[in-house]
Structure formats: structure tokens, C-alpha cells
């Protein structure tokens, strides 16, 4: 590890920012080891600077049951008992923690025959469904830097959500076959409003709200040389001339890329919007090389997809009630299991559904025992039966995260936290839950002696 100690200042080079799915791994962090603060994050964007700068050691108990401070061991015991007792326990969140913690969370869910889902279901879950329908031509981000001469951003606003996307991966970098950077590329933006991404684009296409599918579908027809309705402009807000021009540019580029955002997945049409875009990218491979990539949000949401997939075969929305994984979005996804009132306990890791979910889902969360692991107090931790405060991944803990293009990166923590890691807490819950399940099936003993040891928080 490339760190140099200088009195109480530590420099951590090649550190990774896990705030958004860009997962930039070129941070140079200046750490004040006495104050437990990152005083400077060189190379970070506005979001990354806030991510590092605002990270302080919270003055909170490491574990609470019903709002009262307890030992971690007691909280682990209560969490395990609660989960094992439940008939329809759900595990949710996981996009802001390490793969190592995610592996434990899926293991717990498997053992207790629960349901595991990640924030993917309310992010690019629909793109995951689209992927299962049509497949995907895709790439790692370095290919865009090296080869892409034509880039379309569709329904996403990286200027606000992924500020370094343009400079680090897609628009301005000079690559192997794009030696002049931006000059070698044409950038198109398709969105319903003029976002702050617009200044980057050579061509801005404004689509009528809710008409992305129609526009993509028309492009598919045109790419295949078929006719589309004359009133296409009335339908989509985009003229036939603009469409024809776009089609010609797409077919004639050397290496074309779609980046798409939640303007497709969260709007009417959902997975069919993403599917239309993925199918268009596939169609274009008849003419040239064309790829597409959802622009993912949270730092390790892509890792969550990968871990859940390799352990269960399915990317999210996985139920183990019958002792093996089953997949059905709409049935086993969290918004549904909560708002329908199915779940009778919830294990929520690094996520705040009580703030972001539809009203009906939030109301049900108030009715069931909830276990939370989070670095800070949230709307969800406030209503939790068992609440753990954990160390922040990438700042206090090592481990693995996956960038939005499935590239895994190892974290380099800056300073220690007095709080345990998500992985430690989840491992302890997993072991205890396993003991309790064995006891339930008459195969092992579960007694007071089974409580797992976790390092107690180090108080300053």
C-alpha cells in the first residue's frame, strides 16, 4: 500500500471513491489521523469531495435495540432470533457495502429461507429484466475511452449524478483510437429536459416525456430500413429529419455507445424502455460495432448484482422460502413485498427505504421488526428494532467493489473506525442464524454459548 506517514497526516494514493457507480480509483486522500478526517481528496468530483469530507466518526452507539444501547453481541443475538423466527423475512439494500458483506447477506437469507433484494430493483432492475429478454452488447469503460467515436446519453444526467464520467471514461479522454479525445467523438443527448449534461453534447434531442419507447422503437424500424408512421414528430417530439440523421450516424460510426439512465427505467414502460435501447444496440451490430451500458448509481450496486447472481443464479428479487432460490420481480422485489404487506421482518443494509420508497411500503416498514446496518442515522434506522452503526466502506474498511461496468476494484481504507464492518456484523448474524436453524431441525445445539464474538467498539 502506497502510504506515507508524516506525523499525524497520512496520504493514501490510488484510493477509491465509492459514492457513485463511476468508482473512480485514482483518489489521493490526505488523512488527518488525529481528527479522523479526510482533509483533502485530490481528483475527487464535487460528490466525491463531499463523500470524503463529510465522513466523520458518528457519536452513536454501535448497536441499539428499540432505541436503547446494547452490546453488539446482544444485538446480533436479537437480530438472529428475529430473522429465524420470521416466516417471510426480507433482506434489502446492499449497494453501499462491500462484496464481502454482500456475500454474507445472501448467505443469511439462504439459511433463513428469506428473500433477498437489492437497490437494483428500484434503479436499473428494469434494465436487468430487459437484459434477460434481449441480451446486451456491452463493454468496459476503457473501451469507450479507447475506441468510441459516437456516444449517446439517453435519459441520464451524468453531469449531476456521475460528474467524472465525461472526463475519465467517455467524452474527453484520449484513447488508443481516439487520440484527439473529444474531437474524435460525436456526443448526442436524448432527454425530456435540457439538463446540465447538454453542454457536453454536439446534438441534443428533446423527446416528449414518456415517449422514449416510441422513439427507440421508431429508430429500430429505421435502422432495419423499415418505414415508421408519418406523424412520428407529433408522437415523440422529434422530427423525421433528426431521426434519419441519427440513424445514419449510428450506422456509420466505428464504435458506437449508448449510456442510459433512469429516465428509461423509472418511467412508464420501464423494462421495455431499457429493452428497446438494448435491442437497438444489438440491431446496430449488423452495420458496425455498437454497445450499451446502463449508468449505475450507487458505489457497489453492480457488485450486489454480481454477488446475488453468482450465489443464486438471479440478479435481485430472489426468494428462498422453498429452500432454493426463485426469481420473480414484482413478487419478491422489496417495494412489492413491503407494500403488499408480505414481509414480516426486514434486514436492511446500507439503504434507506423509509426515505425513498412509495408511501405504502414505508407504512409497512413501521409495522414489522426491522434490523438496520448503516453508517449514519437514517429514516430507516430510526424505526428499526435492531440498529447497528457500521464502518464506512472504502473509507474505514477494505474489500471489493464493482464499477458500473463490472470491473472489480479493491478498496484502500483511509483510517480505522471504532465501529465494526458490515461484513463482521453480517458474519456474526449468519453464524448465529445457522446455529438456530440447525437447532430448529434438530441437528445442532443452540444455546447461550453460541453468541458470536465481534470486536467491541473502541471508544476514544
Amino acid at each position: 500500500m502506497s502510504e506515507t506517514a508524516k506525523e499525524n497526516i497520512k496520504i493514501v494514493k490510488h484510493a477509491t471513491c465509492t459514492f457513485c457507480g463511476c468508482v473512480c480509483d485514482d483518489m489521493e486522500l490526505t488523512v488527518d489521523m488525529d481528527a479522523h478526517k479526510i482533509t483533502k481528496a485530490k481528483n475527487a468530483c464535487v460528490l466525491g469531495r463531499a463523500w470524503f469530507a463529510e465522513h466523520v466518526i458518528e457519536d452513536r452507539p454501535a448497536a441499539m435495540v428499540d432505541g436503547k444501547e446494547v452490546s453488539i453481541e446482544e444485538a446480533v443475538e436479537e437480530a438472529a432470533q428475529t430473522l429465524v423466527k420470521a416466516r417471510f423475512p426480507i433482506t434489502y439494500g446492499l449497494s453501499d457495502t462491500t462484496c464481502e458483506a454482500q456475500r454474507q447477506a445472501v448467505a443469511i437469507t439462504d439459511i433463513i429461507h428469506g428473500t433477498v433484494d437489492t437497490t437494483t430493483s428500484v434503479c436499473h432492475g428494469p434494465s436487468g429484466l430487459a437484459f434477460q429478454g434481449v441480451g446486451e452488447s456491452t463493454m468496459t469503460l476503457g473501451e469507450v475511452k479507447n475506441r468510441a467515436d459516437f456516444i449517446i446519453y439517453w435519459g441520464g444526467n451524468p453531469a449531476e449524478a456521475h460528474p467524472r464520467h465525461f472526463t475519465r471514461y467517455s467524452v474527453t479522454p484520449k484513447g488508443m483510437f481516439t487520440p484527439n479525445g473529444k474531437k474524435d467523438r460525436t456526443v448526442v443527448l436524448v432527454d425530456v429536459r435540457k439538463t446540465s449534461t447538454a453542454p457536453v453534447a454536439d446534438i441534443v434531442i428533446r423527446v416528449k416525456p414518456g415517449k422514449d419507447f416510441e422513439l427507440l422503437w421508431a429508430l429500430r424500424a429505421l435502422v432495419k430500413g423499415k418505414k415508421v408512421a408519418d406523424n412520428i414528430e407529433a408522437i415523440t417530439g422529434v422530427s423525421m429529419d433528426t431521426l434519419t440523421d441519427l440513424v445514419e450516424r449510428m450506422k456509420n460510426c466505428r464504435y458506437g455507445v449508448f449510456f442510459f439512465g433512469m429516465g428509461l427505467t423509472m418511467t412508464r414502460g420501464r423494462h421495455f424502455n431499457s429493452g428497446a435501447l438494448l435491442a437497438l444496440a444489438t440491431d446496430l451490430n449488423e452495420f458496425t460495432h455498437f454497445v450499451a451500458k446502463p449508468v449505475r448509481g450507487h458505489g457497489n450496486v453492480t457488485g450486489a448484482d454480481n454477488v446475488v447472481s453468482w450465489q443464486t443464479g438471479y440478479p435481485f428479487g430472489v426468494n428462498f422460502n422453498l429452500g432454493y432460490p426463485r426469481f420473480n420481480p414484482g413478487e419478491f422485489t422489496t417495494v412489492d413485498t413491503l407494500s403488499r404487506g408480505d414481509a414480516d421482518a426486514a434486514l436492511i443494509i446500507a439503504s434507506d427505504p423509509a426515505s425513498n420508497f412509495p408511501k405504502a411500503a414505508i407504512e409497512h416498514l413501521h409495522k414489522i421488526p426491522v434490523i438496520t446496518l448503516d453508517t449514519k442515522e437514517t429514516h430507516t434506522s430510526k424505526l428499526a428494532h435492531v440498529a447497528f452503526t457500521t464502518a464506512t466502506y472504502g473509507i474505514n474498511t477494505g474489500g471489493t467493489v464493482y464499477r458500473m461496468d463490472d470491473v472489480p476494484i479493491t478498496l484502500r481504507p483511509a483510517f480505522d473506525s471504532p465501529f465494526p464492518t458490515d461484513e463482521e456484523i453480517l458474519t456474526a448474524i449468519r453464524k448465529r442464524a445457522h446455529e438456530l436453524m440447525l437447532a430448529k431441525s434438530g441437528l445442532g445445539a443452540a444455546g447461550g454459548g453460541g453468541t458470536q464474538k465481534v470486536a467491541a467498539p473502541r471508544k476514544e
Binding site: 490510488h14 480509483d25 485514482d26 456475500r103 448467505a107 439462504d110 436487468g128 437484459f131 434477460q132 429478454g133 434481449v134 441480451g135 446486451e136 452488447s137 456491452t138 463493454m139 468496459t140 469503460l141 476503457g142 473501451e143 475511452k145 479507447n146 475506441r147 471514461y169 484513447g175 488508443m176 483510437f177 466505428r254 464504435y255 444489438t282 451490430n285 452495420f287 458496425t288 460495432h289 454497445v291 448484482d305 454480481n306 454477488v307 447472481s309 453468482w310 450465489q311 443464486t312 443464479g313 438471479y314 428462498f320 422453498l322 429452500g323 432454493y324 432460490p325 426463485r326 426469481f327 477494505g398 471489493t400 463490472d406 470491473v407 472489480p408 476494484i409 479493491t410 436453524m437 431441525s441
Partner: protein
């Protein structure tokens, strides 16, 4: 379970030690096979049973980025084949691309205890290691894809052969790989950079690098032999699946001269005819070359009828196959390193080409003169799932069964092969060679594939049965590293298994040469690229062999 075991009264097939069905006792202590019975040993009575070393799969696709994409892609395939957990084992899902846990447990239910993932991008090594950690029971390793690596090709173009060698060794170390893998060498650049073109001839020079596939193959064969890796370059030749490709395959093998080389899934590379028409069998031409060249080893890549998943670093091939059905298709480009294609597929008896492929695989097995070098694989899941190995074994051991199966297939395709004339039946000992002893030897796994003292106690005990498919489908006991995993057909324990990798020596100065290229053309930090030891769970470094 005791750490000491004594297996008595079983018929032992241990071809590496010249034992062919003798009744012998096997003793196990601390995970190894030992000469004398330990005092506290628990006995297993193997009367009426056949004892073999645990199976070794030399070529399969079970972990890593492309495998996980193929998993995510096919919920419909998992759905009909759930893998329930037990109090001791995790659950999972099956189908042609099982989840990691199901993969490990299912290999062990066939008596396999080692499997090698055959194609991993360097940048995907970390991901692969995480998955392998979650692949239980078996020991495992992977081959790293270097045949389309742009940096390495630049070195070759500039004639910097020593640096090339250092860089290959650096990459194997940095990824914790077992050996190097070439897939359609030289084919990625036209695919990604020239509107989905491909290289068609082994001597076709790239306009960018001036290199032909042959130049790349030759450099890797020489370099990997010089480095003395435990396994030679594992080569997926150009023109996979195209009629007339046997010439490319022969030229690839000739390029190796008398140096060690392994040709992967050679069945897919043994087609006669001309490009795009009149496919026929060229199994004889291929197997005669292999038979007469002891430096060459291969695995067959048998096609089995039914559902499969094409997943390959050979992206143009997957695109070609996608064209037949217009179903879902995945293409995934990896910066500076590789391509990848995935297509759900199904081999059907009535289809001419599929029968031809099935028959050519069997021809290769049945005409092979050295089972130590012509090894069993289905290129899982490309030719079919590893779960079809027992049926394949029966096809090889039981001519009556083969004749029955031949009645179901496309007869016109069968006419293009000599399968009807091949009367050979594999013996149990030969099966033990092509599934255990042979792959272990080709991989230089000195402690595997045999039952002599010092070997890893990876042991499978089958009930001896007339129906060899039934026999190989359900071993009564499976012991991994001395631990009982399956006992009387039931899981009684779990085991993580270890990672097998190699660590060829290299000059660290090469990092200074790789780094500037890396900083220009990769999208992650050079310092974050090499995989650290934290990703090695239990592991073992496999020593290389010096042949030069």
C-alpha cells in the same frame, strides 16, 4: 468425521500407478493418502465398488465475468432446475450455468474434485477468484486470456521477446492464474475495431500490428514453455465452428513444433469441407496428428444433445450463432484484453450440423491412441453441461448404447463420419485416465489424479454397475482432501477447496514498461490492477516444469 480413513475391499483404478482394478486398501491421514493404515482410522467397506481418484476437469467455464453474465441472462434455465440446500450445504440454481454453490456441489456429486475455469480476462481475475471462493468442495484454478492482449501484441510487433516473456509471467502472477489461454488469437481487433470483422486465416497479418495469429501462437508456445508453467498455452484455435477449419487446427499444432501445447475442445476444430459449405468430419486428420505428436494434448469438447450455453471469448463466433435464431445475445468487450459472446443454445439430434459435431467428438475419442493426451470435456457449458459426463462415459464404454443413440440422430450427418465403423469400447481404466490421471498429468498436478502415497486424498467410490451412466452419476462416497463430503449418497459435510495457481519468476522491471501503456489505455489505476493475496482462500502454488 475422523481425519483418518481406511477404504477396504474396493476395486482400485489408479492408472498413474499402474493399478487396474485390483482389490486394494487405501489409507488416508490428514488429507493425504498414506502407505500404512493410521491407528484411529475409520473404515469404509467398498466391497463391490470401484475406487478412483477424484475427477479433474481440465476445461470448463464455471466462474468469472462471462459466466456470471450467462447466469443472469437465463432465469428461465435455472427455474426448472433448482438446487435445494441441506443443513450443511448452501442452495443454488442449476441449468446449464449453475450458481457457484450448485457448481461445486454438483461436480462433487459426479465424483469430480478439481475443475479449471478455462478463460478469464486479467481485469476479471479478482471477480473470478471471488466466485471460485464461493465454489465449494472442488479445488480450482483458471487460465488467463492473453492471446488478444494489445500490450503483449505491441511487444511482439516490436520484436521485444524477452520483455514479452517477462510480461506474460507478470500477468500470470498478477492475476493468480494457472496458465495462459489464447482464444481466436488476433481476432478481437477486427471484431471491435473493424465493424465486427474477424480474422480467417492463421497467416493473415493484422493491419495494425502486422502480426498473424500464427505469430502470436508461436510466441506464446515458446514463451510458456520457456517459463515452464505447469500447463502449456491452452489454445482455442481460430475459425472455431467453421467447416474446413481442421486445416487451421493442423497449422496451429504444427506451429508448436515439438513444444508442449494444449488444444482446447478440439472437436469444434475438426471440420472438413470449405468455409461456409459442405461440412464433414476431419476427425481422422486431426487425431492422427495428435496421436503421432506426444507434445500435443487436447480435450475433446464433446457436444451432447440438449440445452447448452455458448459462452466464449470468441465474440465473432457467438455473433454468428446468434444469427441463426435471433434470440438473446450478449457481447462484452474488455478493454485491451478480450472480447466475449454469449448465446443460449440447444443441440438437436435432427439437425445435421449438431449430429456431425456429436459424432466427430466420439470419433476423436474412439480413434485416440493415447488416452493420456485426449481428455474428456464438453467445454461446459458450450458443448453441454458437465452433468452430462456420465452419459458421455457410457457412450464411450458401451457400444450397444452408442448404436441405440446413433439411431436417433441425423443419418445424413452420420454418413459423413466413420462413427458407425468404430467398435472400440473404453475400459474403466481408460475412463480413469481421460477423466483423472490424464488431465492431472497434463496440468502437472502431481498430487492429483492418482492414489499413491502423498497424493491429495480426493477419492471417489462408485457402486460397480453395468449401466455406466448410472454408475458415474451417483458415487456412493466422495472424499475431498480426506474429508467425507458424500457418504451413502448424502452430503455430510462442506469444504471450500483451494485455488491452484502458478507463480513463474519474472523481472520486476517489466512493471515500469507495462505501467505507461496502462495509464494511457486502461480505465483503472495500475496500482489497483494486480490481484492481492487477500483473494487467495486456501491455495497451492503448482510448480512448473522445465522442458528447455
Amino acid at each position: 468425521m475422523s481425519s483418518s480413513l481406511r477404504i477396504v475391499n474396493g476395486k482400485v483404478h489408479d492408472p498413474a500407478n499402474g493399478i487396474d482394478g485390483e482389490i486394494r486398501d487405501i489409507y488416508i491421514s490428514d488429507g493425504r493418502i498414506v502407505d500404512a493404515s493410521p491407528e484411529d482410522a475409520v473404515s469404509i467397506d467398498a466391497s463391490g465398488m470401484v475406487i478412483m481418484p477424484g475427477g479433474v476437469d481440465i476445461h470448463c467455464h464455471i466462474a468469472g465475468p462471462k459466466v456470471n453474465l450467462a447466469r443472469k441472462l437465463q432465469p428461465e434455465d435455472h427455474r426448472r432446475d433448482p438446487h435445494p440446500g441441506t443443513p450443511y450445504t448452501r442452495s443454488g440454481s442449476g441449468g446449464t450455468v449453475p450458481s457457484t454453490f450448485a457448481t461445486g456441489y454438483r461436480y462433487s456429486t459426479l465424483g469430480y474434485t478439481t475443475a479449471m475455469e478455462a478463460a478469464v480476462t486479467p481485469i476479471g481475475a479478482r471477480h473470478t477468484l471471488e466466485e471460485l471462493h464461493d465454489t465449494p468442495v472442488i479445488d480450482k484454478g483458471f487460465y488467463v486470456l492473453l492471446g488478444n492482449n494489445i500490450f503483449l501484441q505491441n511487444l511482439l510487433k516490436e520484436g521485444r521477446r524477452d520483455e514479452f516473456k517477462q510480461a506474460v509471467a507478470w500477468w500470470v502472477n498478477s492475476t493468480k492464474a494457472f496458465t495462459t489461454k489464447l482464444v481466436n488469437p488476433g481476432g478481437d481487433e477486427p471484431w471491435k475495431g473493424k465493424k465486427n470483422a474477424n480474422v480467417e486465416d492463421i497467416d493473415e497479418k493484422s493491419t495494425e500490428t502486422g502480426l498473424s495469429p500464427r505469430d502470436i501462437i508461436q510466441a506464446f508456445v515458446e514463451t510458456v514453455n520457456e517459463l515452464g508453467l505447469p500447463h502449456p498455452p491452452h489454445i482455442h484455435c481460430n475459425n472455431l465452428g467453421h467447416s474446413g477449419n481442421y486445416k487451421t487446427t493442423l497449422e496451429t499444432m504444427k506451429t508448436a513444433g515439438d513444444l508442449r501445447a494444449h488444444i482446447a475442445h478440439i472437436q469444434f476444430h475438426s471440420y472438413g469441407g470449405e468455409r461456409g459449405k459442405n461440412p464433414t468430419s476431419a476427425a481422422r486428420e486431426i487425431i492422427e496428428y495428435v496421436n503421432s505428436h506426444p507434445n500435443i494434448s487436447c480435450d475433446v469438447g464433446q457436444v451432447m444433445f440438449g440445452k447448452s450455453t455458448i459462452m466464449t471469448a470468441d465474440a465473432p463466433l457467438a455473433y454468428l450463432l446468434r444469427g441463426f435464431k435471433k434470440g438473446k445475445w450478449v457481447n462484452a468487450d474488455t478493454e485491451c484484453e478480450s472480447g466475449c459472446g454469449i448465446v443460449p443454445f440447444s443441440y438437436q439430434e435432427h439437425v445435421f450440423m449438431h449430429t456431425l459435431q456429436w459424432a466427430i467428438g466420439l470419433e476423436l475419442f474412439l480413434m485416440s491412441e493415447d488416452p493420456w493426451r485426449v481428455l474428456l470435456s464438453t467445454d461446459h457449458p458450450n458443448g453441454g453441461s458437465f452433468m452430462s459426463y456420465p452419459k458421455l462415459i457410457r457412450l464411450l464404454m458401451d457400444r450397444e448404447f452408442r448404436i441405440e443413440e446413433m439411431k436417433k440422430v441425423n443419418q445424413k450427418a452420420l454418413d459423413k463420419t466413420s462413427l458407425r465403423d468404430l467398435k472400440r469400447e473404453y475400459t474403466l481404466n481408460e475412463i480413469a485416465i481421460i477423466t483423472r490421471a490424464g488431465p492431472a498429468r497434463v496440468l502437472s498436478l502431481r498430487n492429483k489424479g492418482h492414489l499413491g502415497a502423498g497424493a491429495d486424498a480426493d477419492i471417489t467410490i462408485y457402486d460397480e454397475q453395468e449401466d455406466k451412466e448410472a454408475m458415474f452419476n451417483a458415487p456412493r462416497y466422495v472424499i475431498k482432501s480426506g474429508k467425507s463430503i458424500i457418504h451413502n449418497h448424502e452430503f455430510v459435510g462442506d469444504h471450500i477447496g483451494k485455488l491452484l495457481h502458478s507463480t513463474p519468476a519474472f523481472d520486476t522491471d517489466i512493471e515500469q514498461i507495462v505501467q505507461p501503456f496502462f495509464e494511457d489505455y486502461y480505465s483503472i489505476e495500475f496500482a489497483n490492477y494486480a490481484v492481492s493475496d487477500q483473494y487467495l482462500h486456501d491455495h497451492e502454488v503448482i510448480a512448473g516444469i522445465k522442458t528447455l
